[in-house]
């Protein structure tokens, strides 16, 4: 350790030391001369003798400096400086090399930053790896395999399970915050008191609520750091303060730390006690709960899955719908969702691109190596050992990789801005930054790249025997073996390019399919927002309010129509119910789930839905014992295949006598209620005047405008406040934004993969061109001989063209095999779309063949047009 510091100290005064060493030797010479003079020699003779005795002063100095122990570092610095000189001396070569590397390193670094943020960095909970989500598996009843659980199940699981230390439960609980300032809807969750102990997070201020408070339904809340800052200006006396939530006074008992977030969204600002009513705690069909659990130490995920499945069958044994299983998913997987596959595919693609870049550079360096043969030979003749030569070549590669990495980082930063859209809503920290992890990754990648593209050329060039290199022509340095090596490099990069092209093509097809999805509504010039109706608990007042606000909104200039729906289309995957058709036995309901929505009369026409048969809701559909429903095509096709469902009747969960029988009056063409990419499900729509038997509130408002939707937002606010000045508006966005947001992951991944594929193609064709034209240069002499012996230029053209073609075909075959493997791993990115492999593969192959043909034709033509006389003389 000490010696390192001493060396570092020395390094800082390097120049001084050089001067001192020189002075020391000078002093020695004078002393020696003087001594000899005293011994009887003449002055000049004595000085000569002293010099002779010392020998070559430069050598002595050099040997002495070696004792300082910095030789290696110095050599490295010299090699690096030499490398920089090489970079400047061959600007064209360097520009290509650095640009290639910048694309490769920048691409993989940007993807890695997203990969790291979403899949690697620890989640902000204690031992987050041990946290799992537990969902009901309703796939046997046409539901999701990750369906909401019920508080009743949660109670039983807590009591009976053997695999979790504890389970916590939460459900949505939107809240309106009034008091000072505009009324504001905040995203809230109703959670059981033990949520924080399960995930292992403490509040930054105050406390969380107790089991007792939860049981009694105490009016207490825990708020987010963001809400505390935004709404309360970070007031230090926030804990203990009473705030008006849904027109009732709640006491703030705690504030969560900055950046805290938990499922299902990073935007949640308030946590209130779940306080499940005792009746609902026994209701096994009330699917509202999202459950997180912590695995006991030593329990594996698989054990938990088996144990919980068995327990669930036991708990739901008496469910009239039949018993069901559960799905246990690690928290990280739940949060990352589909993004995980997208990121993995992108990371592999970026790695493939980087590999292509390295292969290309290796080839370029090999070709250049022939040019530098003489220089190497001179160095070898002057005594540079092979290790020394390899070190020098590798340092030059490192210099190139370093410059490439710097340029790559410059490219990565804007790419990271785009990739931020890939961060799922359930996760925090949407900002991707060039932190030390990303920088360390880029460094490792750059070094690995330098080794990848520099090692083979360094090995080969350093092997050169000096006498070969010094001979004038430098001919015959590369034998059959080097061709073999360079050719396999070409095959590899072609294969990678084909694989990328094919995968990109598949994604593009799936993406096009997504874009062309019929949403069932017209999304342009459609404004959406939410008016939470928590304060309108009375049914009649609610209906009156909704109709009044729609009336006011419709009166705004520029508004064509307005409607209300319980869940804004394309945004919500849940909101479904079991149903029973007339003449069905009661237990059929256990197998039938349909999405249900409550709408206003003008809703369908406002969003531009299309009718297949029957009618939409009309003013005559008022509160009644025999209400009407509109169903979608999926519902009609599933339940009434080949015939009209009009006039048929159905019923919901409340299957006793009190439940209404609804009559089907219309069939609407499929609306993508659950999201653009989600497959359609049977759906049933009710009109809100007749929706007194459901707790679905028509709080979502859609407004069709003739003008740009953003321009009427403040008019809409005023219109609604003219009906109720305490009514907040939340999540104001256009349908266009909603669609864009949903397509952002596929857009991003398709665009990125497409870009990678194009770059890969470009690099591969440069590679083919480079190697073939190098071969032509190298074999000029041979071409001359062949032509002199009677070969026509056509023969020469064919001979070189054939080689290019063979390489391309070999690469193509390998690439298609690779693509077949890769395509399987990206099935989930295709959003249920089954692409036609054949056209994609054909197009990818054709593109590659064309590009490769051009790349090999140019050098081949050059070879065929050579004048044999000149070719023979080209020594």
């Amino acid at each position: 350790m000490k010696s390192i510091f001493r060396k570092l100290y020395w390094l800082t005064r390097r120049a001084d030391k050089e001067a001192e060493l020189h002075e020391e030797l000078q002093f020695h010479l004078e002393e020696e001369a003087q001594q000899r003079q005293e011994g009887g020699l003449a002055k000049d003779e004595a000085r000569w003798a002293a010099h002779r005795e010392l020998g070559n002063p430069a050598l002595v100095e050099e040997n002495t400096r070696a004792a300082w122990g910095w030789t290696r570092v110095e050599q490295l610095a010299r090699d690096a400086a030499y490398g920089m000189r090489q970079v400047r001396r061959n600007p064209a070569f360097s520009a290509i090399a650095i640009a290639t590397l910048a694309l490769g390193i920048g691409g993989i670094t940007a993807i890695f930053s997203a990969f790291d943020a979403i899949l690697i960095r620890p989640l902000p909970y204690a031992d987050a790896d041990r946290l799992v989500m537990v969902w009901d598996d309703m796939s046997k009843s046409e539901g999701d395999s990750t369906f909401f659980s019920t508080p009743a199940e949660w109670t039983e699981w807590r009591r009976l399970n053997t695999v979790f230390t504890d389970l916590a439960c939460s459900q949505p609980g939107d809240a309106i915050l009034s008091g000072d300032g505009e009324p504001e809807e905040v995203r809230a969750r109703k959670v059981t008191w033990n949520l924080w102990s399960v995930i292992g997070v403490q509040p930054a201020l105050g406390r969380v609520f107790t089991e007792d408070e939860d049981d009694k339904g105490a009016r207490v809340v825990v708020i987010s750091h963001g809400l505390w800052q935004r709404r309360f200006g970070g007031a230090s006396d926030i804990v203990g303060r009473k705030i008006p939530v849904n027109d009732e006074a709640y006491e703030v008992v705690g504030v969560m730390p900055r950046g805290f977030y938990f499922m299902p969204s990073r935007d949640i600002d308030m946590w209130m006690p779940a306080s499940f009513p005792p009746g609902l705690r026994r209701n096994i069909t009330w699917h509202v709960a999202q459950i997180v659990a912590r695995l006991k130490p030593g329990v594996t995920l698989e054990q938990a899955r088996q144990s919980m499945a068995a327990l669930s069958f036991q708990v739901t044994a008496r469910d009239f719908r039949g018993p069901h299983s559960v799905t246990v998913i690690p928290l990280r997987e739940e949060m990352a969702g589909k993004t995980q596959t997208a990121l993995i595919v992108l990371l592999w693609s970026a790695a493939a691109l980087l590999l292509i870049a390295c292969v290309n550079l290796a080839n370029l360096l090999l070709s250049r190596g022939a040019v530098r043969g003489r220089e190497v030979a001179v160095r070898a003749a002057l005594g540079a050992g092979r290790g020394r030569l390899i070190a020098q070549f590798l340092t030059e590669s490192l210099v190139l990789a370093g410059l490439g990495a710097v340029a790559g980082l410059a490219l990565a930063v804007p790419a990271m801005r785009l990739l931020e859209q890939l961060v799922p809503e359930a996760m925090g920290a949407a900002r991707l930054t060039l932190d030390w992890r990303v920088l360390a990754f880029a460094t490792v990648i750059a070094v690995a790249a330098a080794l990848a593209f520099g090692l083979a050329p360094a090995w080969r060039e350093s092997r050169l025997a000096p006498q070969d290199g010094l001979r004038d022509g430098g001919r015959g340095t590369a034998g059959a073996r080097s061709h073999w090596f360079q050719h396999s490099l070409i095959v590899i990069e072609t294969a990678l390019a084909v694989a990328l092209l094919t995968c990109g093509g598949l994604l593009l097809q799936a993406f096009q399919h997504l874009w062309n999805t019929d949403l069932g509504i017209r999304s342009e010039r459609l404004l959406t927002f939410e008016t939470p109706l928590l304060r309108y608990k009375d049914f009649d007042r609610r209906v009156a309010f909704v109709n009044a606000e729609l009336e006011k909104v419709r009166a705004i200039p520029g508004v064509t129509n307005a409607g209300a729906i319980s869940r804004i289309p394309l945004t919500v995957t849940d909101g479904s119910r079991f149903y029973l058709l007339a003449q069905q036995p009661r237990d059929s309901a256990s197998k039938q789930i349909a999405l249900t929505r409550v709408v206003s009369r003008g809703y369908f026409t406002t969003v531009g839905a299309r009718l297949r048969e029957g009618r939409f809701f009309e003013p005559s559909d008022q509160k009644s014992e025999s209400p009407a429903v509109v169903v979608n095509e999926s519902f009609a096709n599933r339940n009434y295949p080949g015939r009209s469902p009009l006039g048929e009747r159905l019923k919901f969960e409340r299957l006793n006598e009190k439940g209404y029988w609804y009559t089907i009056v219309g069939v609407v063409k499929e609306i993508r209620e659950r999201g653009v990419a989600e497959e359609s499900r049977p759906a049933i729509y009710r009109v809100h005047e007749q929706a007194d038997q459901t707790n679905d509130l028509p709080s979502g408002i859609v407004v069709r405008t003739a003008v740009e939707p953003g321009s009427i937002i403040s008019a809409v606010r005023q219109a609604i406040w003219s009906v109720d000045k305490n009514q907040p508006l939340a999540r104001i966005r256009t349908m266009g934004d909603i669609v864009d947001r949903q397509l952002s992951t596929p857009t991003q991944s398709t665009a990125l993969l497409g870009a990678f594929a194009v770059m890969a193609l470009l690099l591969a064709s440069i590679g083919i061109y480079g190697v073939l034209s190098y071969a032509v240069t190298q074999r000029t002499n041979e071409i001359g001989v062949r032509m002199a012996l009677g070969a026509t230029s056509r023969d020469i053209l064919l001979s070189f063209g054939r080689r290019g073609l063979m390489l391309t075909l070999a690469g193509l075959a390998m690439g298609l095999a690779l693509a077949a493997i890769a395509a399987r791993s990206m099935t989930s990115l295709l959003y249920g779309f089954r692409p036609d492999y054949l056209p994609t593969v054909t197009v990818a192959s054709l593109i590659l063949l064309t590009v490769a043909a051009l790349a090999s034709l140019l050098p081949a033509r050059r070879a065929s047009r050579m004048d044999p006389v000149i070719a023979l003389r080209s020594e």
């Binding site: 002075e23 003798a49 020998g55 040997n63 002495t64």
Partner: protein, 118 residues
């Protein structure tokens, strides 16, 4: 080189370090003085090559066994003097006992019966 008189002995590998350290035990000295001292004390049998002296001095310095300082020589010129450090003193003791053992062993092997014959 100052001739190769047959009476002179080539230094054994590694012995120069020991000689330098021993010389400096008597007190600080500059490079030329060290060389002269070794030569004189060995009755001109040992010849220190300048080409190896200075690398050796700098190597010992890098190891922390000797420490340099600038001072005026007896003739009033600025010279780089070296002195033994405590670490160097320890090293000298270690090297010396190693050398003693070595030379005793050499003597035993070379003169198995008596030494009068020499």
């Amino acid at each position: 080189m100052r001739g190769n008189a047959p009476s002179r002995i080539e230094l054994l590998q590694g012995t120069l370090d020991l000689l330098i350290l021993r010389t400096l035990l008597a007190g600080p000295a500059h490079g030329h003085a060290i060389a002269t001292h070794i030569q004189r004390t060995s009755e001109d049998l040992l010849q220190v090559e300048t080409g190896s002296l200075y690398p050796a001095l700098h190597r010992l310095e890098a190891k922390g066994w000797i420490a340099p300082f600038w001072e005026l020589s007896e003739k009033g010129k600025r010279a780089r003097f070296y002195r033994l450090t405590p670490l160097g003193r320890k090293q000298l003791a270690a090297e010396r006992s190693k050398w003693d053992a070595f030379s005793r062993a050499m003597a035993l092997v070379l003169n198995p019966i008596d030494q009068e014959g020499l």
